[in-house]
């Protein structure tokens, strides 16, 4: 039989992602207000980074937590943690046909650090 992960045990009494606090090897690369672009990484097999965000530029709204990235955790690999960010986009920057009369609308979604690159 495959070895059991006992993910539940490390999270008991703390919660997930709290159980991964202080497990990254470096401080967060981005801070609130930073402009970031979503990278066009391969999306074979599993990801939670939506296609409609690829290449889009947004602004870091919250530096949220540390956790293994979904791409690793989904195969039960929790060896490496990353910082996670909530990024805010203008809806008009995501959808070409978004109406001009709602120009202030925004959308927020979450990414692990590997998906973000700094925009000058």
């Amino acid at each position: 039989m495959t070895k059991r992960s006992h993910h539940a045990e490390i999270a008991t009494g703390k919660g997930d992602p709290q159980c991964f606090s202080n497990t990254t090897s470096a401080p967060s690369k981005f801070k609130v207000g930073d402009k970031v672009r979503i990278k066009e990484l391969p999306d074979i097999f599993y990801t939670r980074t939506q296609v409609y965000t690829r290449g889009a530029v947004g602004e870091v709204a919250v530096v949220t937590h540390e956790s293994p990235a979904p791409e690793d955790e989904s195969w039960d690999n929790t060896d490496h943690s990353e910082w996670f960010y909530i990024v805010r986009f203008r809806q008009k920057d995501l959808w070409p046909e978004y109406p001009d009369c709602y120009a202030n609308d925004t959308l927020q979604t979450e990414f692990s650090e590997r998906w973000l690159e700094a925009v000058k």
Partner: protein, 127 residues
């Protein structure tokens, strides 16, 4: 801006000379990534979960509690591994239930033969 579409097969097993990188990216798009796809409104029904749906949820939580999977592995299996046709074609908790059965077989906690025999045994109880 990057809007890719999920593809329906233009023909079975296309020859590689017509299968370019754009087609590859379209095909690799994960089934749960539906944002931006064309669709029509769904009929919303005010309806409580059925008993089997509640049982399925508890079964999946027990599998996590016992260290068989974590929530992200469950999501991968029920939302992505299952493929586009089943992602859209099965009831929501049907995908959970299939994923629970599948991981027990994949991680060798039961054999597919044992699972088949059990399903047949339970079915006979209701004949």
């Amino acid at each position: 801006m990057n809007l890719r579409n999920k593809q329906n097969p233009p023909k079975d097993a296309p020859y590689p000379d017509i299968f370019d990188h754009k087609m590859f990216r379209d095909w690799m798009r994960t089934p749960h990534d539906v944002g931006g796809e064309d669709d029509v409104p769904m009929q919303f029904e005010e309806k409580q979960e059925e008993q089997w749906e509640l049982n399925t949820y508890v079964t999946c939580e027990c599998l996590a509690w016992r260290g068989i999977w974590n929530a992200e592995e469950r999501r991968r299996r029920q939302n992505v591994d299952i493929g586009n046709a089943m992602y859209l074609g099965l009831p929501y908790y049907g995908r959970w239930l299939l994923a629970a059965a599948r991981i027990m077989v994949d991680k060798q906690h039961v054999t597919l033969t044992e699972l088949m025999n059990k399903m047949e045994e339970v079915k006979k109880r209701h004949d």
